[in-house]
Symmetry: C2
């Protein structure tokens, strides 16, 4: 099988995103190998041997997705039997021309703790963990957003992704079975009503997810799921709380849509 390499002098996370986006367009079966932190000529020479070995073993030239900043390292890999793809190189001169300024190459420029917004993101992750599942409602005043919904509708992973990707402080609050008759907004949520964002989900998918947690329980029954979802959707409409259905959305898609709908500003750049 042909191999795809994702390599960099840093984490190689950018190389992975870049290569994955390109390869997702092709119905090809490949073996994927990520090798981060290639920081010296010796390490690059070693990696060149690995790439060449893959070529010798399979007879197919490996695809190499790379984002080196250091030209000397890039040149070593380019001397391998791999086919090298470098999106930075092909676009740097165009950006340079438009901005009218020269690039200032630095290694570890992305995904490092020296990025301006790193501390925001880590604070937001800690905030999401401390304010998960209605566990600590006294800090809701500090939230950028408060996700609400029934148990297992996707609040916690979405809160974490909003924190990690966007530096958004997301608390979350579950509506539980006991609240379902005459569902009202508790005072702690009413006080922060402009921060509320509702999640919903199809009753079938919710029931499937709950079955994994407590099989054959009332909690997981389709009737109970339908009842709870009806109640919360009525509440969202009555209180004019914006909401989304998570049934067909990944947490990345949920988060991007929530950012777009609410107009929250990311703490990243």
């Amino acid at each position: 099988m042909r191999t795809a390499f994702y390599i960099s002098d840093g984490t190689a996370i950018t190389s992975e995103v870049f290569g994955h986006a390109l390869l997702s367009l092709f119905p090809a079966e490949l073996e994927h190998v990520t090798i981060p932190f290639i920081e010296t000529i010796e390490q690059a020479e070693q990696l060149k041997i690995v790439i060449n070995d893959r070529f010798a073993a399979s007879g197919q030239r490996p695809l190499v997705f790379q984002t080196f900043v250091d030209e000397a390292l890039r040149d070593v890999i380019r001397g391998s039997e791999g086919v090298c793809y470098d999106f930075l190189e092909s676009l740097i001169s165009k950006v340079q021309q438009e901005l009218g300024m020269a690039p200032v190459p630095k290694t570890h420029r992305t995904h490092s703790m020296h990025e301006k917004t790193y501390d925001y993101r880590i604070d937001a992750v800690n905030y999401a963990l401390a304010n998960d599942d209605g566990s600590n409602m006294k800090d809701f005043d500090k939230a950028d957003i408060i996700l609400v919904g029934v148990s297992r509708s996707g609040k916690t992973p979405t809160s974490l992704y909003l924190a990690l990707q966007y530096g958004i402080k997301a608390a979350n609050y579950p509506f539980v079975e006991e609240d379902m008759e005459q569902l009202q907004l508790p005072d702690v949520l009413r006080k922060n009503k402009n921060k509320l964002f509702g999640l919903t989900i199809s009753a079938q998918r919710l029931s499937d997810i709950r079955q994994q947690r407590r099989a054959n329980s009332r909690y997981a029954s389709i009737q109970q799921c339908r009842h709870e979802l009806n109640q919360v959707e009525q509440l969202y409409r009555r209180e004019q709380i914006p909401f989304l259905n998570s049934s067909q959305l990944s947490i990345e898609e949920m988060s991007a849509k929530i950012m777009a709908i609410t107009g929250l500003k990311r703490q990243r750049h």
Copy 2:
């Protein structure tokens, strides 16, 4: 100020990574605007107006980083006053030539729940949350890795990132003050010794982090931090547990290094 737009028919996460990697090379001040889920010609036409308005207001052509799969949408934006950058377009034909197959463009091909590994990643996030901070040691047998270290050395955010980015099930276990005299591996860890990975950190940084949590406490004192770190580092060496110092590393860098050092295979592609 000049504006950079990150746009897509999907989440625009790839556009952001791509644009951010390129712009991090330039010392330019820009305003950053992400607009995801441009899925119709009407939405693209609206966006074109927004881009043109930015040009009219600032006199500087916006930079537009885009990853549209649909050519009709791409063409609308290309008709704007923005300068469009598209790394997919410039490389698709090269990949096509090497693989000897035509691309099969699909929207929402990345960052959707239909990606093969989405369920792995969400399961891993739920696992990390349920096995955080030594809270549920009975499931350590199911871990891919168990992060160990003193309180506030970075175990929890690193566990979550390993789950979200790589689909790795990472538990974590804290060595607490009470264990510090004659620190030994508890049985539950000894049973899973081949999965252990230690974190350490500089005493000064640990003390700074702990001060934020409990100011002027014994817990946060530099003496106590130094003592605990000495004990755990001795344990790591005595038991031959691989370990990393997190003082100068982001959680992305920690996670990438842990993957490389342990040889864990990601559950992603």
